[in-house]
Structures are given as structure tokens and as C-alpha cells.
Symmetry: C2
Subunit: 472 residues, 2 copies
């Protein structure tokens, strides 16, 4: 856990010790979770609760102030009212801590009074060498170290290679949902808040260098400075790994609101952002659903060089919708070889049907075994096919073998296909009845989405990145 | 249950007796569910299973053929291989049945052979007065009568005023999901399949006249004839009730596919459809997610005359996204009165924050009671506010009272607001932990969506319909 020779941000993600100023033993307060998550998830470093009204918090010795702590303190998390924070900053300087995270709000986002307080902190810190995340920032997170600063209970962290940059705490209350329900494998996460010191350029640069980060997802509302440095670092980073960006505050009303809650000034128009982000090789997401959808698929797959998709659906109507949205998202229908048609012939009805999209609803009436499985297996060997969108579910309520057994067979097959470099994106007509299979798929890095539109949109993004990479 | 004086389609939804040709006692076949759903859901009419290999199915007397049935038969459902169907049609004519539903495929969608078979049926039926849904059609459904023809187990039907027109069976496997998870209150549903006789114009006309249908949602792939009659009936219908249309087969590849699976020819370009549908007053949905989202909100609320929305969020960042998508969807941020600001003052932090979007994450730090509740109550009385988008969840894990009690209070308040004519659309950061509240909300006709984007998109559609209605 040494930080020597590393990017200066590394210490925020790999602190050997952390002091929590404002830690509480009262479960009814958000501050309780600042230390409880560290204890419950098993963060291996030292935890120092700081609270003048307690001697023990969560079984840990509690300190009245920072100076009373015997050992060294790498990181200090400050979660107390704004006006009392300058005093804590002085203590931090005295204690020679390396980094500070200020979760508290009440600074530049509140107008001139708070801005004065933020300026006061800046002056205090000037020349101290101490770097600051925030204020108004709920972070960081490093799943490798079971390290997370948060205001609610965090149940578990999937370890993966997806790293997030946020500019607000919007991720916080849905973190458990993202991990357990959306199966996001988060490596690191930072919420920058008011960006008094550390900003998105620093975070992007760090995640770009970070070997355990394979994909970066950024929710931006504003860009520090004139944006040129951000775009330069972004361009360098997208050469190495995919970067997904959700830029909000896109409408006039949204931009005004963005400015009021983080104190940042949102200057450029949305079209300017759009062109600049694209030129820098970033994948832009339109909304929060798409942002998390794309973050997931890029954590699983690198990119797509070619865009020929095969689709397997449960009804012809669903196939038409999946086809429409494949084309909207830059994919085109693959034309499988005659060998593939030949192999799937036994599953066809007596009349000729189109092999792509493959309508398992029709073909299933003419073959007793699993048509979806046969389809995937055939297409995995077809040189005209680059990726697959699969509506899972071979009438499980009609199948005599258990859901678990057939799920295992299906997932094994999908793994095979992925090993051959063909991404699969899946959806189902009713996610509730495929829970077993969905969990298995996600565990094996096969992304599941709630609808055909979202499944093919995610695949399309892989190809968008493939094209962006080639252009450089 | 008399059909006299009613639209000819009424008998398909209110049959006094139904014969199921191809009914099966084998649970491993799709045909099993044709009769089992009727029995399990409690369809009150007569059910006559027809299968030459059985004497009893599901405890019901089974008949070798239609002629052996003693009583009158209103409706015959035919689910056997295509080539044997003309003989059954002859039996139907002999038995003087009133309507036929052909669920079986293998007709015009299979090319010239199947088309010949379909023409043969047409000639047989000519002059008989018997009307036909299908072939290749899984329908109808009438929840008032617990009447449903389907290939999978249907667990329950919520009775409501939403009626669907489909052109394929894509709704079928997700019916339980639509009812139980998406809380759609379906009144009637028809899948038209190959539209050999009855088409979307007939269905639209019938649902337009049907008093128990308050909103119509149509998934179209093709339009019968030159489309003029459809647009005329559509225009008449949208004057009376909202009509949501998902038109797929929008891309070249999608259109080709649509033609192959229903045998219909898709002629016009997507932009032509777009303009024509809009002119006729229909609300067009882009994909299946939006289609069901809008179907739900129109079943709950009629329309919106004005578009001033207030937003309550759990974080400023979420508020920015909700604001962006409100504007994308035709809404604008309401400017609450100074009285409202005054009433909410105790919930504000010491500094000035924008009242819309209302950031409960910030305000919650400065007030112990439920800020969301105070916000909704205040806005319900504000004359500058037309509708509300609410991210539910007042830190339930920090709340000492039980989830059920606070949910009940919240839902009661929402009901009050809706009574004052202000639609509410809700979402949550983690639907799993708000299950109790979501079910209560939906039971009281307050729509819940999985994200801010989708919640405000649905509200925006209400206003789109309000504008369309005024224009006429």
C-alpha cells in the first residue's frame, strides 16, 4: 500500500489509515455509515473515528480531535458543518496528513458566504502539500481495498475494472442497486463535488494510468477551466481504454440547476460538448440508464471491430424491434453462411424463415430441443457474425429439466462464444422468472438488459468505440 | 353478455361459449394453456375442449370434433397444424359459430403455399357471416370476463381501462410481467396476426366505441390497405381517448423482417408514418419500453393542459438530469410562488437553494421531518405547478418508523394531489428497497418508473396529448 512514485491521487484510493471527523455511533444519522461501511466490508487499514462526544464508535477507539491520534494519518474525511471545517484543516496541517476528503456541503454551492469559506480553506492549505477532494463530495471507493466513504449502508462491492468519476452524490443511494441488481463490477469511484482542488482532469489522468481500471465512466456537469486540458487527457485516455461520458446540464434549465448545486459554471452549449467529446474518442451516453448500461458492457467486453449482429427472439414482432434498434445504434444484420442455414434446418418450420432475426417462437413449434442453444452454437462458428443479441428463455415453464440445469448449459455455451471474441448481449421478456440464469450470465460477464432496445444499444456502443479507435 | 346491437368485434371479447380445437391435457405443450387459463382465472362462459384423442381435459368433457358439441358455440379457437384447418372451418360453418380465432401459423407468412391455404379459408368463409382473427394470432383477452387465449400460464389480470392492439405475439410471454411488475391495468387485448379478415382498423374502431376502454395502445408493423381508413378512424378516436402507437419495422432491415413474419407488406417510410400519425393525434412511442411506459400513465391520467413541472430529487445531480429530460420531453420547470418558498423555508439550508428541482439531499440535512412530503403538499396548492416528478425514498434506512407506515402517509398525500388534477410520476434510486411503497403507489394509480428519464418522459407524453387535443 505504498504510494511512492504513484499518481498523487493514488493515496485517496489506497490509504493506510483514515480518520473520520464527524463519525457517529448513531445509526439514525448518515455519518454513522462513514465508519460502519469500512468496518463491515473489512477495510484493512487503520480507522480513526474523530468525535469530541464519544470515546468509542463501532468498537473502535474514538478521538476528540486529530492531534490526539497516535499514529500517522494518510487520509482525513471531514463530515461536520462547514463553518467548523477551517479549524479541522489547521489540525490536518499540524498532523501532516496527505489527503483530505470534505463530504460536507455549505461552500461555493451556497453563494458568496460559502465561497468565502472555501477560499479561506484554500489559503490555509496553500503550500501544505495536502490535496483535497470536495467539498460536497461523497467519495472515494476502492473495491480492491474494501474502502468506501458513504452516507448509507453498502452491502457488498463486486471487484472489477470499471472506474467512475462523479460530480455529485447521485450514485450514492443507488450504489447497492448498481452492484447487486445491475451487476456493475466497480474498481474505483470518485465523487468530486465542488472541485476546490482535485477535478475531473486529475481523476481522468489517474484512472487512465491506473492498471486495474479497464473502463472509465464519467458523469460531468461542468468542465474545469477552458476544457482544453480535459479534452487532451481524454484523447490520450480513450486510446488506451473506453471512456463513457454522461454530460448533464444539457438544456438551459438543466445548466442553470447544475450551476446552483455544485457552484460550478456551465458555459458551453450541448452541441459544442457533443462534437468535442466525440472528437476526443469518448462514448457519450444520453441519460443515466444508458450511462450505466454502457458502463456494464465495456467492463465485460473491449470493443467491436465489425458490426454484423445476429438476433434471436421469442417472437417475430420482437425481432423487428430488435432489428430497428440495431440499425439505430450502428449495427447491421449479419447474413449467416449457407452452412449455418444448413445446420439450423432441423429447427425450421416446413416453410422457409429468415435466419436473422431468428424467431424461436416459430421454430420452437417444430423442434423439441433447445433452439436458442443450437442457434448460438451455430452462429459462434459463423465467420459472417460479429456479435449476438439474445432474448433468453426457452419456454422454461414448458421444459422438464430444472431451470438451474438448463441455465448452466446455456451459460457455458455463451462463455464459449465470448472466448471466440463474439460479444453477447441478453434480455428477457420477464426478468423475474429468469433470475437464476441472469445471475449466472452476469457472473460469467454476459450482460443482461431489461429490453431489446437496451441490449442492442449496448452492443452498438462497443462498435462505436471500435470505430473511434480506428480513426486515430 | 348479449352481443345484439354491438360492434361485430364484441363477440370475440364477450363470448358466452368457446370451443378450443387442439386443447391438450399435456402441461408440456403450449396448447395446454389455451383452456387452463380460462379454467384457472374463472372465465364464466362454457368451455368446450376439442381433441379427438381425449375424453376429458382439465376436468372438462372433451369433444372429438365441433359437431359433437351439444350447445351453441360463440367462438372457436383453432390451434392445430395449418393444413388441417380448412376442415375445421367447414365444421365451424356447419355449427353456425359466430367467430373464429386462428392461433396457428403456417399461412401467408410462409410464402405462396401458406398463402394458398389462407385463400382457401377465405373462400370457404365467404358469405358465412363468420368473422376471423388471425391466423397466427394469440388473442383475445378481456379482463372483465377473465377471458384470455394464451400459450403460457397467466397468473392474474388487473382490471382497468387500457386496451391493446398487437400484430404479433410479442406481448404474450411478458403478459405476467406487464400485469404484476409493470402494474398495467389491461381491459382488453387483441393480437391480429396475419389479419386475414379483421385488421387494426376494425380493432381501433371497436376500442374507440368501447366504453370500458379509456386508452388504446397499438403496436403496428403494417397498416391494411392504403392507410387512409386507418388514419380517419384514428383521428376520430384520438378526439375521444388517447392512442399510443409503436410502429416498428422502421428501418429497412426491420421492415423486411416485419414483412416476413406476418406476411404483410410494409410500404411507407418511417417519416411518412411519423407525420401521418401525429396529424391524426396519436402519441408515438419509440420503442417497447416507452410504449408500455406511456400506456401505463395514460391509464392513470387523462392528459395535461399545461406543462409546468416540479421535481423532487435525492441529489442535485439527479435534479439536473431530470430537468434536462423534462425539457427534452416538452415540459418546463415550474416557478413556484413566493408563498410556496415561504412554506418550505424551514426545510431549506441556511443558504438559498433553488426550489425546483428540490434537492431533498441538501434540505434533508437541515430538517428532521419528511421534506418530500412537505414539498408535495406545498406544490399541490401552488397555482404555478401543473405536475410533479418525484424521486421517492426519504432515507428509509434512517427513518425510525416502519416502511409501511411512512409509505401509507406518502401515498395518501399523493392521492390528494392527484384529486386536485396534478399528475405525479415517481421513480426511485433502488426499486427493490421501496417495494412496499411502489405497490401502494401503483394500487392508487400513481405510476412508478425505473428512472428519472422515464418518469418525466411519461409526464411529457400527457402534455403532448393535451396539445394534440387542443389543436383540433
Amino acid at each position: 500500500m505504498s504510494n511512492s512514485g504513484k499518481h498523487f491521487l493514488d493515496l485517496f484510493f489506497n490509504p493506510r489509515s483514515v480518520a473520520v471527523v464527524g463519525a457517529s455511533h448513531n445509526m439514525m444519522t448518515a455519518n454513522y455509515f462513514l465508519a460502519s461501511n469500512l468496518v463491515n466490508l473489512g477495510y484493512p487499514g487503520k480507522i480513526y473515528p474523530v468525535n469530541p462526544n464519544s470515546t468509542e464508535i463501532l468498537g473502535l477507539k474514538s478521538y476528540p480531535d486529530l492531534k490526539s491520534i497516535e499514529g500517522e494519518v494518510d487520509l482525513v474525511v471531514i463530515s461536520i458543518p462547514a463553518r467548523r471545517i477551517p479549524d479541522i484543516i489547521r489540525d490536518c496541517i499540524g498532523k501532516k496528513v496527505k489527503g483530505i476528503v470534505i463530504t460536507a456541503g455549505g461552500f461555493s454551492e451556497t453563494g458568496s458566504g460559502g465561497r468565502g469559506l472555501q477560499d479561506e480553506m484554500k489559503q490555509l492549505l496553500d503550500g501544505s502539500g495536502i490535496r483535497v477532494i470536495g467539498p460536497n463530495a461523497l467519495s472515494p471507493l476502492n473495491s480492491t481495498l474494501n474502502f468506501i466513504i458513504g452516507f448509507g449502508p453498502v452491502l457488498k462491492l463486486n471487484k472489477g475494472k470499471l472506474s467512475f468519476i462523479f460530480q455529485s452524490g447521485l450514485y450514492q443511494p443507488r450504489l447497492n442497486y448498481l452492484v447487486s441488481e445491475m451487476h456493475l463490477n466497480i474498481n474505483k469511484l470518485v465523487d468530486l463535488g465542488n472541485k476546490m482542488d482535485i477535478n475531473e482532469v486529475d481523476a481522468l489522468e489517474y484512472f487512465g494510468q491506473d492498471e486495474s481500471t479497464g473502463v472509465i465512466a464519467i458523469h460531468l456537469e461542468s468542465i474545469a477551466g477552458d476544457g482544453r486540458r480535459f479534452l487532451k487527457v481524454l484523447k490520450e485516455t480513450t486510446r488506451k481504454k473506453p471512456v463513457i461520458i454522461l454530460k448533464s446540464g444539457r438544456t438551459e434549465a438543466g445548466a442553470k440547476m447544475a450551476s446552483s448545486h455544485t457552484g460550478a459554471i456551465v458555459k458551453s452549449s450541448d452541441t459544442v460538448y457533443d462534437a468535442a467529446l466525440k472528437q476526443a474518442g469518448a462514448i457519450r451516453a444520453q441519460g443515466l440508464d444508458e450511462f450505466f448500461d454502457l458502463a456494464k458492457i465495456f467492463e465485460y467486453y473491449p470493443s467491436l471491430e465489425n458490426n454484423r449482429v445476429v438476433i434471436s427472439c421469442f417472437s417475430g414482432g420482437e425481432g423487428v424491434i430488435a432489428t430497428d434498434f440495431s440499425q439505430f445504434n450502428g449495427l447491421r444484420l449479419a447474413e449467416p453462411t449457407s452452412e449455418s442455414r444448413q445446420r439450423l434446418r432441423p429447427f425450421f418450420p416446413p416453410w422457409e424463415v429468415d435466419i436473422n432475426p431468428f424467431d424461436t417462437g416459430v421454430t420452437g413449434q417444430f423442434a423439441s430441443s433447445d433452439v436458442t442453444t443450437a442457434f448460438i452454437d451455430t452462429m459462434s462458428n459463423d465467420p459472417n457474425v460479429d456479435c449476438m443479441a439474445i432474448q433468453i428463455g426457452s419456454q422454461p415453464y414448458l421444459s422438464p429439466d430444472g431451470a438451474k440445469e438448463s441455465s448452466e448449459k446455456f451459460v457455458k455455451l455463451c462463455q464459449d462464444v465470448i472466448r471466440r471474441g463474439k460479444p453477447i448481449s441478453a434480455w428477457a421478456f420477464d426478468p423475474r422468472i429468469f433470475g437464476v440464469m441472469i445471475n449466472m450470465l452476469e457472473a460469467e460477464r454476459i450482460p443482461f438488459y431489461p429490453s431489446a432496445e437496451r441490449a442492442v444499444r449496448a452492443l452498438g456502443a462497443l462498435y462505436r468505440y471500435g470505430v473511434l479507435k480506428k480513426r486515430e
